[in-house]
């Protein structure tokens, strides 16, 4: 506390002790001064700032970017089994993967086809569903309700749980004989829908998407709520006075203004869908079968269960490129707007 006081004191002293022009011109000197060499300003502050970000930067460079490069290199080899072999280098693993993806027809086909397809389905359906539910929750919360904090806390609670934990809960929910979902369906006479959710191939992915939407919609709510709160309240009022019905008003006036919130939430959710692993691994193990296999699980299985490291690394690189396709444009937009 005393440190802050001293700083506040010092700040006050400067604010009132010197004229404004003097301090701003000094500040400009500090900003623009120094030696400019190429893109980096190697002025004294650059050197002084190095110890702050460089250790962290080196860790990130090694573990994130170094590892990605190394992974790409491994994907060019034929490494499989216990002894790493780094020769020959070619794109065989990639042609193998995409060859198999293309082999897949409407029915059947190699697991590569299903993994790729399921990954895309999960990415799109999960993201859209989570955004819709999140927006719905945010709109409900944003009506000047009582106990707002309690509601918000409850909706966000699943986000604080491990996928291992939620997978155990949902395994029980989906249990075909004793689980609550099928019990409820049978109670209301919808026996037809009481299927083997995580056992039958055609329902597995749907079951996963529902559970993950439950877990992530709280995130959507938080992002949208911040977006809603940033819209000036007179816009809500104006739309109401104009006589727009509540739903119409939200669709026409409010939702279009949530574009930035939608974009950033969608990016995070899509990237999550690409790396979703823990939840599926706990429910299905490393072999979810054609119904629910996704690339991230396939990558783990290929590399760590069957020791085909080169092929696993190739799948990992494909995942990375997919993620890059999502985040590249997003970060570029952020960079252009100066939002970074």
């Amino acid at each position: 506390m005393s440190a802050i006081d001293r700083i506040a004191d010092r700040v006050r002293r400067y604010r009132f002790g010197r004229s404004d022009e003097e301090s701003t011109s000094d500040a400009r000197l500090a900003t623009d001064g120094g030696h400019r060499t190429g893109g980096l300003d190697l002025g004294p502050e650059f050197v002084q700032a190095l110890p702050f970000w460089l250790p962290a930067g080196l860790l990130v460079a090694l573990f994130v970017y170094g590892a990605i490069g190394w992974n790409f290199f491994i994907s060019l080899t034929d490494w499989s089994g216990l002894q790493a072999s780094y020769w020959p280098l070619d794109f065989e693993m990639y042609t193998r993967f995409f060859g198999k993806v293309l082999e897949g027809g409407l029915l059947g086909g190699p697991i590569e086809y299903w993994s790729f397809r399921n990954t895309i389905v999960l990415l799109i359906v999960f993201t859209v569903l989570t955004l819709i539910v999140g927006l719905l929750l945010a709109i409900l919360i944003d009506q000047q309700i009582r106990f707002e904090n309690t509601f918000r806390t409850i909706y966000l609670l699943p986000m604080s749980l491990s996928f291992v934990v939620t997978a155990v809960f949902w395994q029980w929910m989906y249990n075909p004989r004793y689980g609550i979902i099928n019990s409820a369906l049978e109670t209301v006479g919808l026996d037809f829908f009481a299927v083997n959710w995580i056992g039958a191939a055609q329902f597995k992915l749907l079951a996963v998407i529902i559970a993950l939407t439950w877990q992530f919609s709280g995130y959507g709510m938080v992002v949208y709520l911040a977006g809603l709160r940033a819209i000036p309240s007179d816009q809500f009022e104006a739309a109401r006075v104009d006589g727009a019905g509540t739903i119409k008003m939200y669709l026409r006036v409010i939702v279009p203004q949530l574009r930035a919130a939608t974009l950033s939430a969608a990016v995070v959710l899509m990237v999550f869908a690409l790396k979703a692993f823990d939840f599926l691994y706990v429910i299905f193990g490393s072999r979810p079968g054609p119904g629910a296999d996704i690339l991230s699980v396939m990558m783990y299985r290929t590399a760590f269960d069957t020791s085909q490291f080169a092929y696993g690394a190739a799948i990992a690189t494909i995942l990375f490129v997919l993620a890059l396709g999502v985040i590249g444009p997003y970060l570029y937009i952020q960079y252009q707007r100066g939002d970074l």
Binding site: L157, M159, S162, F169, W172
Partner: protein
């Protein structure tokens, strides 16, 4: 739906009805969100025969009640809880510290090229971890043979360092948002006063960042505690952390849902406690950095 030519009287009667509908919708969502937890909690207190014969949403009654599943699950999980604490606490603290230092060096100080380096940091948040798993396991066996150096405990050290490295991008982004929001004139003033970059961090930036430390620590604690993937590839057998232990528990206790539910709650207890106590900070971390 009310239309534009609603009379004042009509509006007065529809408003309370709308409010009732609103609260009904909110409560329905509460039921949906708590259902998996509620059925899990009741099931954890039921005997084996009780959870097979009763409806999961109903609480156990009479001789259906038992606390046995909790003791059995705890017996199985407690060493893993200890290992989790041992690697999560240092990983959380150090990733937050590195993040705050990096964000300071890339935000408050003045030199060109900061944005570019920041971009490199931020992109690290979105990396699918699968893209680094094979090199990561090679790194911790061939290049730094951590288990050869430190014995079997080495895998916990490797896991901790790995989480620090992959936690730095998100921590840096959170702290950068905080530093950018501060009144920059304070830093200007200190700079004019001749304070060094280091002094400004120690005396001004660090004290002002304490609320953001709370957010980052809570967010990172939850993230790191909850992770399974890195632990699966870096930790072998004897030092399995709690998410691994729960996962193998589900494999060995197939069908014993009361045990599994108790185990799930024991695993989640630290994060639930942190969430209940610091929900606001967790929400801030979630919205600031994404999942």
């Amino acid at each position: 739906m009310s239309t534009s030519n609603d009379s004042i009287v009509e509006r007065a009667t529809t408003v309370p009805r709308k409010r009732i509908g609103l609260y009904a919708a909110l409560l329905a969502m509460v039921v949906l969100y708590l259902l998996p937890l509620e059925t899990g909690l009741f099931t954890a207190f039921k005997t084996q025969s009780a959870f097979q014969t009763t409806i999961p949403v109903l609480p156990p009654i009479g001789n259906q009640i038992t606390a046995d599943p909790w003791f059995q699950a705890f017996d199985r999980l407690w060493p893993a809880l200890g290992y989790s604490v041992a690697f999560v606490v240092p990983a959380t603290a150090l990733s937050a510290l590195f993040g705050s230092l990096a964000a300071y060096g890339l935000t408050i100080t003045k030199w060109r090229g900061q944005i570019l380096i920041m971009l490199i940091f931020v992109a690290g948040i979105f990396i699918p971890y699968q893209a680094v798993l094979v090199p990561l396991t090679r790194f911790w066996t061939s290049i730094v043979n951590i288990r050869g150096l430190l014995g079997p405990e080495g895998s916990l050290v490797a896991l901790s360092i790995t989480h620090i490295a992959y936690g730095i991008p998100i921590c840096t982004l959170l702290f950068r948002g905080h530093f950018k929001g501060l009144d920059q004139s304070m830093f200007e003033a200190a700079r004019l006063d001749g304070a060094t970059i280091r002094t400004i961090y120690r005396r001004i930036a660090f004290p002002l960042a304490i609320p953001m430390f709370a957010v980052t620590l809570i967010y990172q604690f939850t993230n790191i505690w909850n992770d399974l993937l890195f632990a699966l590839v870096l930790v072998r057998g004897e030092y399995e952390v709690v998410t691994m232990a729960l996962q193998s528990f589900t494999g060995s206790m197939v069908g014993q849902y009361n045990l599994l539910m108790a185990g799930a709650f024991i695993t989640a207890l630290p994060t639930i406690a942190v969430y209940v106590l610091f929900g606001k900070q967790f929400a801030e971390g979630v919205s600031g950095g994404g999942a």
